[in-house]
Symmetry: C2
């Protein structure tokens, strides 16, 4: 074989994902001449403290100077795996402006600055790929941008946060309450020390913003996403759901409707025979509906060192192939539409509402009347348990406008007979 | 916008898939300038009889002369959706030799002549894409070649035939017998007039050959695939499986082991909590295991006019993007290894064996003894039903060499006490 071209890579960050990517590049070294027609080598690794030992990483590659990378014309691919907004944002922008291709796993950044960075990539004829930013190892962005590009996609629904899915699975399977399951998730390393971004749905919201942008060809940023977490869900809700043939999942839902794009993350009851209902533990899955493909689903590990590194590596290989064929920048930003985004109050949903009310005649009639006056029709009422002389009531509504339900809820909360609205969860 | 480049496409065939592709190209017409930076137009449609009316297809595009296409230098993409080996094989080869890119949905052809055609594509700097040849609308080949390219993939398992999955689902859910379920599949259009290729596992075998080749970077042709169909499965087997916490599916299994590649299609008992167990009706799914990504699964519609057209259209868009960036031929044949392929007799499996034996003392001992002498150890025995004074026995073995099990089976068949070996099914 003739002397091979060398494609040189710089890693920004050597945390969990960075270490995984470093390992994979080395593990796949012998395959690269066949897979991309070039050698792929890590040239530099940017770290905060270059004197700190990094297990398995050749210390001669470490640098704490961004200049060592940005000024090195031989580096053609910059892999950003440091996370956070700054300095990642500045580094990526400077790299693209210097004509370097960028692969990133940074969902916070892409959900916020995606347009700016993709525009910069296009201006400079560079690739900016970010498969790992959504759903870890699961191939989803490339399938949306390429394989399903012949569809008008109308729905993307995902379980895209492994921490909360693990918690909900433990609550469903072992009857744990939220706090107990969260403690277990923390102990096992599934939840971070500060779990806010996971349990409040922000992490899932960022991923939904990225997927909705690609699926609907119109920019959606994290600010556009309505988010609601799982902290109010109790094992009792999950039990009720089960009796109704449903599971409760933290779902990201993005829909392209005639009146605009809906994007939201919240807990939801979904029928047990829906493919997403069987996605358990820390697994992720994304369900897609398009006019041609109909239903499709992508399932796998949404986080972790090697699954995330797998997605980063797929992008690196893609860029390296583009470098060999002189076609970097082959895929531009695909957000060429400017569709309106609906407010959560304009969206229709079915609701599951569990509440404690006085246990006396006429109570249900009053509640039904209040719902009715707000144009909220009832699909089902379950009254089973009594708690300290109060009746526990579960009401499932038909599909109604969020604003109408919110108005009804305010009225019901203000009624004498209402002791507590325990939970409100949307229903698929 | 400046005058756009026109990318001209010829369709070979106007059957179900061809019509779907024609519809999609027109439905997506306005999107193409944004998605690929060019107009995409169908220039010619090759048909057998150009005087026959084709609903929805502009009759001025019809031709029955291959020369009209192969000699037209403006046509840059040939989309082969006629099926069968000849003349598809010749046309594709000639198109590639003439420098035209090819998209095909033809699994028979790729499973047989994949190497030759990919080599021809490479020699001529052309694209040859065939996403639609496996699992219809489900994005699977591009994820394997690109997104998961940083993995050593060790396992690909798939439910890749919708007809048989529909039949097995009906047998499981409604207690139908095979013939009844097949008749229903035929009535609903899921099964062809001659269902042999589906029910004997040949169709699935071709798809497994293609996926194994890509996943393991080593050529596997249909001849290498051991196939066994579902005609011997009875609803009774499914009932037994259910009681053991399993479903019976027609599975394609490809494994890359240290001693070689295993590729086979046969019915299999899989645990109900395996993601593939919940794939029902005519849906398909492909489960993949890699050293980095761990487990991943791809789910969707494996056949049908529009889902298959969705996959073809994804390929067409990819080629059109390559044309715009002058990088056709960017992905070569990825089979750069030459791994040995194991014979079915060299493979280890667990077995489920249902039989009718004389109902008297010592019978089980004799069977157990015969199995033991062939190095087949027993994991479980169930004896429940009596049928006309005979005992129905179900034996589950541990993982044993296929050859040993086959030898034991021959001996057991020859024993006086054995009245019938009703079914033998492998167990996951």
């Amino acid at each position: 074989m003739a002397e091979l071209n060398k494609v040189k890579v710089a890693l920004l960050g050597s945390g969990t994902v960075g270490t995984g990517v470093y390992k994979l590049i080395n593990r796949q070294r012998k395959e690269m001449p066949y897979k991309v027609g070039a050698d792929l080598v890590v040239e530099k690794v940017l770290v905060r403290d270059k004197n700190k030992k990094r297990e398995g990483i050749d210390s001669s590659l470490l640098t704490d100077q961004w200049e060592d990378i940005i000024l090195d014309d031989d580096i053609q691919i910059v892999v950003e795996v440091m996370g956070g907004i700054e300095p990642a944002h500045t580094y990526i922008k400077e790299a693209l402006q210097a004509g370097k291709n960028v692969v990133t796993a940074n969902k916070d950044l892409i959900a916020e600055y995606g347009k700016e960075l993709l525009d910069t990539a296009e201006e400079n004829g560079c690739d900016l790929l970010f498969e790992a930013s959504v759903a870890g190892g699961i191939p989803i962005l490339r399938p949306l941008k390429h394989c399903l590009a012949g569809n008008y996609l109308t729905e993307v629904m995902g379980i895209v946060n492994g921490t909360t899915n693990f918690i909900l699975t433990k609550m469903a399977e072992e009857g744990m309450e939220f706090k107990e399951a969260l403690a277990l998730a923390t102990e096992l390393g599934y939840a971070e020390a500060d779990p806010t971004a996971d349990i409040e749905g922000y992490d899932a919201g960022r991923k939904m913003a990225i997927m909705a942008s690609i699926a609907f060809n119109s920019r959606v940023t994290f600010d556009d996403v309505y988010t609601e977490g799982i902290t109010n869900i109790s094992s009792k809700d999950i039990q009720y759901a089960k009796e109704m043939g449903c599971a409760i999942k933290l779902l990201g839902v993005a829909r392209n409707t005639e009146t605009g794009i809906e994007v939201r993350v919240h807990p939801m009851l979904i029928p047990l025979d829906h493919p997403l209902a069987g996605v358990n533990d820390a697994f992720n899955a994304v369900f897609v509906h398009g006019d041609a493909v109909d239903d499709a689903m992508f399932y796998g590990r949404g986080a972790g060192e090697m699954p995330t590194a797998s997605a980063v590596m797929g992008d690196i290989i893609d860029v390296a192939r583009n470098i060999q064929f002189h076609c970097c920048g082959r895929i531009h930003c695909t957000c060429y539409k400017n569709l309106p985004i609906k407010k959560i109050t304009e969206i229709e949903s079915k609701y599951f509402m569990r509440m404690l009310v006085e246990d006396k005649p006429g109570v249900l009639a009053k509640i039904a009347d209040t719902l009715g006056r707000n144009n909220v029709s009832i699909a089902q009422v379950v009254q089973k348990n009594k708690i300290n002389d109060l009746a526990e009531l579960v009401v499932i509504t038909d599909s109604v406008l969020e604003q109408n339900f919110a108005d009804a809820l305010t009225s019901i909360k203000g009624m004498d007979i209402t002791k507590e609205i325990s939970t409100v969860i949307r229903v698929y």
